[in-house]
Symmetry: C2
């Protein structure tokens, strides 16, 4: 199943190019397992979720660690019917038959409890879109239940859910939401905004 | 039908707060026709597409006009089944029965030809998501045909389509894509990135 993201990093600083170039070194450990293409709007990362989410996490954490207000914006997708499959996307997330919702819920919580803590605080606002028909509302509500128990749930907003907490836990939570809800072979997307060091009061 | 967007403006400058505060005056003509709520991640705009898209256009143009590299990111949504209707969202876009695809295509092109030209160049990358079943792939392909004839089509990318041109024409194109494709009462969303003044070569 084809999976990946179009990502953009926005440091709110005159030296935004410097912050971005410096943060890119955080992608080094992942480069062999991702296809990466950049233009003036976004960088394409093609690869399995278990590589994609840690790569986005480490890129964002590196930029956030400078103390500059910065945002990672990403359009994350799996199973788009218009995209050809790619061997680099082979993922352990979607092997075997789909487990019952309650079991996936429990597995997602366990994965979040085992997430690395990076000691970088951030917020993540996102929308999960499950395309196609069938039981997709059950899946959405199952995902929301998981998010509320994940330890990072901050609030529901119109069109989106807002999480906050340690960046390592946040990206683990996002990976679980993306992989464990919606049909294993279905078309699922996330519209993500991760933000750190905002001067606005929360 | 409930419609609106969660939007964020990212000026890549030390004085990002000043650029944002100054650009916000561009929303003044629209404030009475929108519900607006802001937190540390995004600003919610609730209102009909014919107000929403010009408001986003003018906010973004005002920031872009400073010459600073800036990005407007938006999660735009209509017809989400989890959102209650709101009188402020009453739109002329969705009155009457849905016309045949060819007719909507022609109407969309006519609307784009009549769009105001702002003399601010920008690029817009977006994904259109049509939730639910039925003829949604016909609608997506119909929308892509329209985009290719809109005069702003730059290229297809994985997960997204990239447009470029005058900001007035771009936002008119986005409004038409959002309103004229997908079921009139359906759940349709756009994940938008509009960018201006990037130092990266295109």
């Amino acid at each position: 199943m084809f999976s990946g993201a179009q990502i953009s990093l926005y440091p709110m600083a005159d030296d935004f190019v410097g912050v971005i170039m410096s943060a890119l070194s955080a992608l080094a450990p992942y480069r062999e397992r991702l296809r990466i293409e950049t233009d003036d709007v976004s960088t394409l990362l093609v690869g399995p979720p278990e590589v994609l989410f840690p790569a986005m996490r480490d890129l964002f954490s590196a930029a956030a660690g400078t103390g500059v207000h910065c945002v990672l914006s990403a359009a994350i997708s799996r199973g788009c019917p218009g995209e050809p499959d790619d061997a680099i996307c082979q993922s352990t997330h979607f092997e075997g038959p789909s487990a019952p919702l309650a079991e996936r819920h429990a597995d997602a919580l366990a994965a979040v409890r085992g997430a690395p803590v990076l000691d970088v605080f951030s917020v993540a606002q996102f929308s999960l879109y499950v395309m196609g028909s069938g039981s997709h509302m059950d899946e959405i509500y199952g995902c929301i239940d998981f998010l509320k128990q994940s330890g990072t749930f901050e609030k529901s907003k119109h069109f989106a859910t807002k999480l906050s907490g340690d960046t390592g836990v946040l990206f683990a939570t996002l990976e679980q939401a993306f992989c464990r809800f919606g049909p294993p072979e279905g078309h699922v997307t996330i519209d993500l905004t991760a933000s750190a060091n905002s001067p606005s009061a929360r």
